[in-house]
Amino acid sequence: MLAEADPHTGGPGRAESGQGEQVRSRREEFEDMYDTCMPRVYRYVSYRTGNPSVAEDITAEVFEKALRHFDNYRKEKASQATWLMAIARNAITDYFRREGRVQVVREEDAPEEVSEVPAVEEQMERSEEVRQLRLCLAGLPKIDQDIISLKFGAGMNNREIARTLQVSESNVGTRLYRAVQRMREAFKGWEHETQR
């Protein structure tokens, strides 16, 4: 499934009666948030980092942080998806800072093509194409990388992306279109080179 329904915006519930019910409600709220948003967070992080094991680590970090601050979350301020993506974005920034500030697309990071009868050459071409696409993504300004990853990875609409990145919705539309065009131009150049 590529895109889920609009993320629900419920915050941590506070049942009026009894500590037991309050704890249960809080836990249920968190579990619902996890089930709804975890795949989207993972896809965004994975899209942005291009490395499944790093994506798992960062996604876990995001939800652990969300758990620690769950009581401070206010649904009036942001939807759960927006809140989590903002945490994820900071975690990704920290990750790249720790890793030496440069986003490197390594050969082994390119995901392997899954095919029933893969022709080796075709698989290598596909792998190289994926790697090239990742290089094109890494060549964009950080905010454009986020827009592309939130759109194509997390499947967010422009309004949600705008709220996550705290820019206007029209700005997201403009940047998205231009970023795709820039990536396309860069990718075309690579295709042209390989065909010669």
Partner: protein
């Protein structure tokens, strides 16, 4: 060629449609735009899904942390607030207060006075002495299965909400200081449909009953296990009374929590229930020994 603004708006709308698995609505009269859409479809292929194993493991870990957090929060609440926040205890306290108040009112209104001289021949009143023929409470408690393994007082077999699964913890009610001890869990399916358990054996936490702090945790396993109708599955763990830092825990009362991860039939989602299934005491060190 369409104006750029229109292209940008249309492009975002078309991408959202493609992401939902629908066709784009744009008329493909602009070759450049059509090519951009094709390229966008390539970008969608970079998307990666989380594995089920990762999703389940992380979920389980978070639920355990959530329980720890709740325990810490509960600890910081004053005892009288905690007392009143538990529905069963609150009911007991309020009921007792109302009975005492009612007796007080009757007493003040002298309505109880005529009964006093005939108290010896009266039937059971509000305040009665225990029936001597009734078995002592301690006998009832010692009538436990599995030799001297007992479920702890006040903790009946715990039912996993919305399922037919019952969980019972068996542990000696009093353990000698620094003596290794065994805790046995029984998972009993009392329904007519199988129940699926994930992350078996389950995560187990031993908590200080006074503070609510987790003193030791047993990590969950990674197996899945289906329990057939009326089947009982047992699981035993051994604990050397050492805390997470490897030190002997203090004498006192402790609670045993189990994280049961089961799959509901209705929505096929995994969920984890954290339940207190037993308590026990570690005896004070005998300095004379």
């Amino acid at each position: 060629m369409r104006p750029r603004d229109e292209n940008e708006r249309q492009f975002a709308a078309d991408i959202d449609r493609l992401l939902r698995g629908e066709e784009s609505l744009s008329v493909q009269d602009d070759a450049d735009y059509a090519e951009a859409l094709q390229f966008a479809q390539r970008l969608m292929q970079l998307r990666d899904e989380p594995t089920e194993q990762f999703a389940g493991k992380l979920r389980n870990r978070l639920v355990v942390k959530l329980a720890e957090q709740d325990a810490r929060q509960e600890k910081s609440v004053p005892w009288f607030v905690r007392l009143f926040s538990r529905p069963s205890l609150r009911l007991a306290v309020v009921s007792t207060f109302m009975v005492v108040a009612a007796v007080g009112l009757l007493w003040r209104a002298d309505l109880l006075a005529p009964l006093s001289p005939r108290a010896d021949e009266a039937g059971p009143g509000i305040m009665t002495t225990p029936d001597p023929s009734a078995p002592p409470e301690t006998e009832e408690r010692t009538a436990a299965p599995d030799n001297d393994m007992l479920t702890m007082e006040g903790v009946p077999p715990a039912a996993v909400p919305d399922t037919t699964l019952m969980v019972v913890g068996h542990v000696p009610p009093h353990a000698a200081y620094s003596e290794p001890m065994s805790i046995t869990f029984e998972f009993r399916n009392e329904g007519t449909e199988p129940v699926s358990l994930a992350f078996f054996p389950p995560a187990v936490h031993i908590r200080d009953a006074a503070t609510g702090d987790i003193v030791y945790s047993f990590a969950p396993g990674e197996r899945s296990h289906a329990i057939r109708p009326m089947e009982v599955r047992s699981y035993r763990i051994d604990w050397d009374q050492q805390d997470l830092q490897g030190s002997q825990v203090q004498p006192g009362r402790y609670m045993i929590d189990v994280a049961v991860a089961e799959q509901t039939v209705a929505d096929e989602r995994w969920r984890t229930e954290m339940m207190t299934v037993a308590t026990f005491s570690i005896e004070t060190v005998n300095s004379g020994d």
